[in-house]
Symmetry: C2
Subunit: 119 residues, 2 copies
DNA sequence: CCCCTATGTTGACAGGCATCGAATCAGGAT
DNA sequence: ATCCTGATTCGATGCCTGTCAACATAGGGG
């Protein structure tokens, strides 16, 4: 396990500087690639878009309802990946579980990809 | 090969609407997840940041120069993945090959993740 | 022409990942 | 307590991918 490799030269403060302006440090790249990897699956992307476009939060029961052609355990697995990537948070209230996006993380990734919006 | 699955309900025009506003269609998700998957590797993220932060273009010989602890064929492989994802373009001029980022694609992905910048 | 350096490709191997069915856990209702 | 339903976890399986050594290709210089 090359775990200590992740410690080398991680940018202390931000790691939010757009990649169009400054090369990424090795530590930051490991950290950020984990998030992008979570977006690298069509089912997860659709799940995230459903969650992110919800007014406030969304019930899992609205996600497992046949819109995706995968089984419920698979959806649960993908939600876990998104959760561990810090892109969404889940909370159980009574029978159902509700998910909501972590908009700060999404904005951070968005900023990293440039987005000068002025071109 | 479920190739024809990618054809179902792809948004005709853009597929650039932020996921915070509208759920992703299945076809668009397949298309976009391929790009995010290309970002889901630390080596590729660092390569892309080096390329994107270059003034105009960058020589491969500046990338294979020991900064990464992987072999040259591996770097070549990662560059190919980024190329096929449409995030960079490469051109051979004489002995060396030069790469440059496709900023439009990076902006598109950035826009997709929200980035209202007004929060 | 033949060698030499710089890139990219191929084949192979190891580890990771998406997916599912079955089992498990959490809560509400009977 | 007992059952039922919704959600997650577990174990297994097959595909995908990162990596390297070896080979192939491109182009410049002797």
């Amino acid at each position: 396990m090359p775990k200590e490799l992740q410690l080398l030269q991680a940018t202390p403060g931000g790691c939010c500087t757009p990649i169009t302006e400054e090369p990424l440090a090795a530590g930051d790249a490991t950290e950020l690639s984990r998030r992008f990897k979570a977006l690298g699956d069509p089912v997860r992307l659709r799940l995230l878009s459903r969650i992110a476009s919800a007014e406030d939060e969304i019930c899992v029961c609205d996600l497992t309802g046949g819109d995706f052609e995968v089984s419920a355990p698979t959806i649960s697995h993908h939600l876990k990946v998104l959760r561990e990537a810090g892109l969404i948070t889940g909370e159980r209230r009574g029978t159902w579980v509700y998910y909501r996006p972590v908009r700060g993380e999404l904005d951070r990734l968005s900023a990293l990809l440039g987005g000068q919006w002025s071109a």
